[in-house]
């Protein structure tokens, strides 16, 4: 434990104290190994449970957004009449998927077909390694954390194509190519939306970026990047791109049930199928965690007076907020067509993200402006992004909306 950590409150230190206590049972040469294994087990356990409850929360929230009740039946199998609001549903689902038959097509590339779900889960879990969950809770502290995050995140696209290719099914292959087109299209706005943060903080370390967002004006206005004229558009672009990257509605074309059979998952069944969904949720959680880290101040408290609540609690709260927002989006918007999807990425998000990089550059160049000049700085910075947004929005939607319906002559 570092010396700085000793000055924090007990709750802040509790996970570290627990880890060090366990590690001290091991002989000295093995302590580094125990240290890392505990970190891995903790991340797996916390985010595995988090995934399980995200699925039930998603189903219940979606139901409420559509005036339904959602799953509320499953209780404990040995107590009759106890329903627990359906909270044990994910465990019932897990048992169901585990006991289902695993069918592999006879013509499939057996090795790749098996590897694809493994790789997709492995890479999406790897992205958790660089997220700062708390003031002292970061699995691996890398100087190029952002680079690592996007490298690991992009590798899941390879697994999706592996799944489509190895199934030896033309629908799987076509859907995988579609999915690839989507994921690569949105990789660009996703990374471009992060560039302004790197420009302003001049670091790629995730912990460094969180520390740069510390402090409050008047004690209640946090210095999070989402509250800056370049950070807010970057956050919106990041949200849209993150939705597309994690195959979520309204960008769930890769496995659009009603159009394709199940896209690249057509030939998957049982637990392998569940693994893809697990990876999807892990990817979404990791991207939400990155969004929290980059734009919402990471583990920083929103008000100076609330700092007594441990930092990891703030991180988890913000993460849950992001996920609820994503679920809300899913309950509201309809799926896009493939041409609308790519047009949104290349004609709208990429130009705006590029402009936003220039916006951030302007923000850095004018960092010495104070007093009334500060107002002019905000006005110029807002104008740089809002005027192109309105103009671009008008030109792109011209001829598309409002839609007029007419009968064929």
């Amino acid at each position: 434990m570092s010396a700085a950590a000793l000055t924090d409150s007990f709750l802040e230190r509790a996970p570290l104290v627990l880890r060090d206590w366990v590690v001290n049972f091991l002989p000295a040469p093995l302590q580094w190994l125990g240290h890392h294994l505990i970190t891995i087990v903790a991340v797996l356990a916390v985010f595995g449970t988090f995934f399980a409850f995200t699925t039930i929360a998603e189903r219940k929230l979606l139901a409420r957004l559509q005036n339904r009740l959602g799953p509320n039946r499953s209780g404990l199998p040995w107590i009759k009449g106890l329903t627990l609001f359906g909270l044990s549903q994910p465990f019932a689902d897990a048992i169901k998927t585990l006991t289902k038959e695993d069918i592999v097509p006879a013509a499939a590339d057996k090795c790749l077909h098996f590897l694809a779900p493994v790789i997709v889960v492995a890479f999406s879990l790897m992205t958790f390694a660089v997220l700062p969950f708390g003031r002292h809770l970061i699995p691996v502290e890398l100087d190029a954390a952002l680079l690592y995050f996007f490298a690991a995140g992009a590798a899941t696209e390879l697994a999706i194509f592996m799944a489509g290719w190895s199934s030896r099914n033309k629908y799987s292959l076509l859907a995988a190519m579609r999915a690839l087109a989507q994921l690569i299209s949105y990789e660009l706005p996703l990374i471009l939306s992060v560039v302004p943060i790197v420009l302003v903080t001049s670091t790629l370390s995730s912990q460094g970026i969180v520390l740069a967002q510390g402090g409050w004006t008047f004690g209640f206005l946090p210095h999070w990047f989402v509250f800056t004229p370049w950070g807010f558009p970057a956050f919106i672009i990041f949200l849209v791109a993150a939705l597309a990257e994690s195959n979520r509605s309204p960008f769930d074309l890769p496995e659009a049930e009603s159009e394709l059979i199940a896209g690249h998952l057509t030939e998957y069944s049982g637990f392998k199928y569940a693994l893809f969904f697990m990876a999807e949720y892990f990817g979404l959680t990791a991207l939400s965690g990155l969004g929290v880290t980059l734009f919402l101040g990471g583990w920083q408290a929103p008000i100076a007076a609330l700092q007594f609540i441990p930092s990891y609690a703030w991180f988890m709260l913000k993460l849950i907020g992001m996920l609820v927002f994503f679920i809300w989006i899913r309950g509201t918007l309809l799926r896009l067509r493939i041409d609308q999807l790519t047009r949104l990425a290349w004609q709208f998000l990429v130009p705006l993200a590029l402009l936003n990089v220039g916006n951030a550059a302007f923000w850095i160049l004018t960092s010495s402006w104070t007093g009334p000049l500060q107002l002019i700085r905000w006005a110029i910075s807002l104008a740089i992004i809002v005027i192109p947004f309105i103009l671009l929005g008008r030109t792109l939607t011209a001829g598309y909306a409002p839609r007029t319906y007419r009968y064929a002559p």
Partner: protein, 204 residues
């Protein structure tokens, strides 16, 4: 502006979310085993036999084993065997009765043709739909005892239709009684008139 539609949509779903907790009118779900919706009056699924008297169902079946329904039934799910003896029906007339009356509900397609063709209003459609069993051979074949239900039950499930049927039956019985009375009166009159019409040829 671009994106205003998305915000409007988000507001709609947010209202749904908040409303689903305090406004039961919004909810469309009926939690079935605990809650049940009222079935519409004209709902039907499988036929049942009407008895006049609930205390003696087998003795007061309206069915006279004419076997019209058995012959008309498109999937042939009705089995009837006539009795050897006769019993008086509701009007006191001696009639045959079904010694065996069975409906195989696994074959029945709820077409209601048996009800349409029955001249005695003895078979009607039931509303019971929770008929799952653990034995598909015995429990899905309904025999006479399980099919017989009193007329009062018919009034409960199809009040309008039952009132119409009862009115018609009553009118028919009255007409039959009138006719019988007229016939009896005519007979009596004939019997009484006979001596008048044919007086003794001569008196001493």
């Amino acid at each position: 502006m671009l994106g205003s539609g998305i915000i409007n949509g988000l507001i709609v779903t947010a209202k749904n979310f908040a409303g689903s907790y305090h406004d039961p009118e919004r909810m469309v779900t009926v939690e079935y085993p605990e809650q049940k919706t009222v079935l519409p009056e004209n709902y039907r699924n499988f036929p049942f036999l009407i008895t006049e008297n609930a205390t003696d169902p087998m003795g007061t079946l309206r069915c006279v084993a004419c076997q019209i329904c058995e012959k008309e039934c498109p999937p042939q799910c009705i089995i009837i065997e006539k009795s050897k003896d006769k019993k008086p029906d509701a009007t006191g007339k001696l009639q045959l009765y079904p010694a065996i009356f069975g409906i195989d509900t696994s074959v029945c397609m709820s077409c209601q043709i048996c009800v349409e063709v029955c001249p005695f209003d003895a078979i009607k459609m039931d509303k019971v739909f929770e008929i799952t069993t653990t034995d598909r051979f015995q429990d899905l074949f309904l025999d006479r005892e399980r099919l017989a239900k009193p007329n009062s039950y018919y009034h409960e499930i199809h009040p309008v239709e039952a009132a119409e049927v009862d009115g018609r039956l009553l009118a028919e019985r009255k007409a039959a009684e009138e006719k019988a009375k007229v016939a009896a009166a005519a007979k009596a009159a004939a019997a009484a008139a006979k001596p008048v019409v044919t007086p003794p040829p001569a008196t001493p």
